[in-house]
Subunit: 440 residues, 2 copies
């Protein structure tokens, strides 16, 4: 296992009345077992290609020339929102911690919003003639992504020339006649197929996440191998009792059902997992938030949110479960020598300790403090963070979300509630009255 | 008023059974009025210097030479976590949207975590000989900030030389003999006074937020003027009924008390307000999360989180109130000409519309959709976003949080629950056993 998964501190035996009784966990796990045959069937009949992606190589071979072409540029702008953006951002965080890309690789910019001010900055600051553009929309009709694309196209054309425009753009969309594929067709740029059966929030292991990752210099085969290491035991299991993703789902749903735990906090102690927690937030919220079901996922960051949210977690209402995700950073970073403390006794606890020691001690201390205060707490640990481990974590949470949906009896893969707002947006845009006046 | 504040869509008359009855709002507002005399007294007797900051200039004059000195560098690293970091980040987002600083200004890096991997990247990538360091800890004993400082000091010393080290560093801490002031004393760098009566999460209008802002090129006088425009009417009011911050607090607390609304979502439709929402998240959580009270603040971003969280907001449990914060972006960005659509009828709604039109239409549509689905929704609108408006929003939320604390009968300014974890961290660090083994 590329990670460990410990839920004892979320059970009532350990944490008191807000914890889940073992018998309830077992009951949920028994029900989760029923999903195993379904998942196997979904893989076999192609209903859920996600379950085949970890074992595939052929599609990566097809992707390679596009990645290599874009890897020679200075910048790559990824247009896409939600699931079209968060997977790539999650993976890239392994190689770019905000100080720039790997040597010899382009800087990737994920533009997931339609704020005109941000787009204007982008156009003013980036050398578009040395910049590539990846446009991702599964349906090919995402208003935000199309509007961004149509806004940026003339800027790119002005800088790189009409003849070379196609070399700077790649579109990723379903193989259908849609607005994105039509625009791409007019430009003459490559159009790569987004599998229609892989929804955006489950698309990180497909080209949606992996093309940006390849351009950024990640070992994407390792990402898939890590995912396979979590998926394979699930697809081979006779029951759900030994499966971490099923146990996690049973815990979450049990706590929601029996203890009114309406919020689930994911708190990694590792900066490179900051986007991962945002990715999880979408996955969980959008998959389970329907029919009155679903818990609210919260992304926290250790140690930062000890100074921002921990007071609420410990002193506020006990309506949350916690997952503390701990990277073993013991000994990482330079140890602070005794001399640096200048004989200051108040700093003795830092003597010969490194930032990694401190980060790990804080993670352990926060988990222990949550438990001591009766908060149901799950601890996941990883020894290192690389592509394989990231792949494992991604697959863990996709499976945990799928198990949770089965326990709730809902469809993890649709998002029925958001259509109303899209229709209204188009009405407002078409109206002649400025929309600011409409509501005032 | 630099912003408008409309809560009609959060009342039961408009939104049904999850909304607050007018009579309940009036009752909470009546109680909020009792806080007005207290706030005036806190200002007059110096208990709460925050309430005097918007009217001050003298401290900015003192700050100016330090800001000017650092403004000549290429990079400035700010060490500090929680309230020592979020205020500065919030303000800087007005001038640096991720593509780099204002022309002629240094790039500011807010290092709020102790991840050894991130610090190593910083040291490897930044030219420390052209980099300044601002170290902020009110108490002067924040473990994370001190450990960062002690880790970076040798790196700086190696690059800039011992003789010039003091020119590269400024410390901000309480005027007391503490670990930070002692280290700074040994280096011989300037030590600027952090007012002990201005807590971290309320410090954005003090030098903690304003020194980074001045270095980054913001008009900090305008920030304070904006704050004053919200504060002054509160300090002059006879009752709370016309005061937006009091109305907001009464709404939040009333909904929590009477409707079980345990989560409050702040969703700005403006990238530059992304850090503002994180700043709010700390302010609200840490001030109110005590004694079993407090609601969970959630930071969302429009339009991005329509593709990530909106399904949960509309289809999940109705346990949230929403604040949609809308910037009037009508007409901003280049309009998409009809020709760009290539005759594609599915794109007709974008014809002659700009990204700003789309962003505004989506904000209005999302607010309307939330209301149609019975979700209590507050709408705040700003016509533009500059330093004055940012100052107004910051003061609104500080006052709203203070009113909310008064309504709950709790102290907004302490954070009693987090001490246990700090003690445990030091114990774990001092122990000889690696902490990973302790819990496995």
């Amino acid at each position: 296992m590329l990670y460990s998964h410990r839920i004892d501190d979320a059970l009532d035996a350990k944490v008191g009345k807000r914890g889940l009784p073992q018998v309830s966990l077992d009951r949920e796990l028994g029900r989760a077992g029923a999903a195993l045959d379904k998942f196997r069937r979904w893989k076999a009949d192609g209903t859920l290609p996600l379950l085949s992606l970890p074992g595939r190589h052929d599609d990566l071979v097809e992707l390679k020339p596009h990645a290599e072409r874009f890897a020679k540029l200075e910048h790559v702008v990824v247009l896409g929102t939600g699931g079209s953006s968060l997977g790539g951002q999650t993976l890239l965080a392994l190689k770019d911690q905000g100080f720039g890309p790997l040597a010899g690789r382009p800087k990737l910019w994920f533009m997931d919003n339609v704020d005109p001010s941000t787009l204007a900055e982008l156009c003013a600051r980036l050398p578009l003639q040395r910049t590539g553009l990846i446009v991702i929309s599964k349906s090919g009709s995402t208003a935000e992504t199309l509007a961004q694309f149509l806004t940026l196209l003339p800027e790119f054309e002005a800088k790189v020339g009409k003849a070379k425009l196609a070399d700077h753009v790649v579109a990723i969309t379903e193989p259908s006649d849609n607005a994105l594929s039509r625009i791409a067709g007019r430009i003459g740029c490559p159009i790569l197929d987004h599998d229609p059966r892989v929804g955006g929030r489950f698309s990180v292991l497909s080209l949606v996440g992996l093309l940006p990752a390849m351009i950024g210099g990640l070992d994407v085969e390792a990402v898939r191998a890590g995912a396979a290491s979590v998926l394979d035991p699930v697809l081979q299991a006779g029951d759900a009792r030994g499966l971490a993703p099923a146990i996690g789902a049973a815990l979450s749903i049990g706590l929601a059902r029996e203890r009114g735990i309406g919020t689930t906090v994911l708190m990694p102690y590792c900066d490179r997992l900051g986007y991962f927690a945002f990715w999880y937030r979408q996955l969980w919220a959008e998959s389970l938030g329907k029919g009155g079901h679903g818990t609210t996922p919260v992304r926290a960051m250790g140690t930062v949110d000890q100074h921002s949210q921990l007071q609420l977690y410990l002193g506020g209402p006990s309506d949350k479960m916690f997952t503390v995700l701990i990277l073993d950073t013991a000994g990482q970073g330079k140890a602070i020598p005794a001399a640096a403390l200048g004989g200051d006794k108040s700093l003795a606890y830092l003597e010969n300790r490194s930032l990694g020691d401190l980060l790990l001690a804080e993670a352990d201390a926060t988990a222990a403090t949550l438990v001591r205060n009766g908060r149901p707490t799950r601890v996941m640990r990883i020894a290192t963070l690389d592509e394989r481990v990231m792949g494992a974590l991604l697959m863990h949470y996709m499976l945990e979300t799928m198990f949770a949906a089965e326990l709730l009896g809902i469809d993890a893969f649709d998002q029925p509630a958001v259509e109303e707002g899209k229709v209204l947006t188009r009405q407002y845009l078409s109206a002649r009255v400025p929309s600011t006046r409409r509501q005032s």
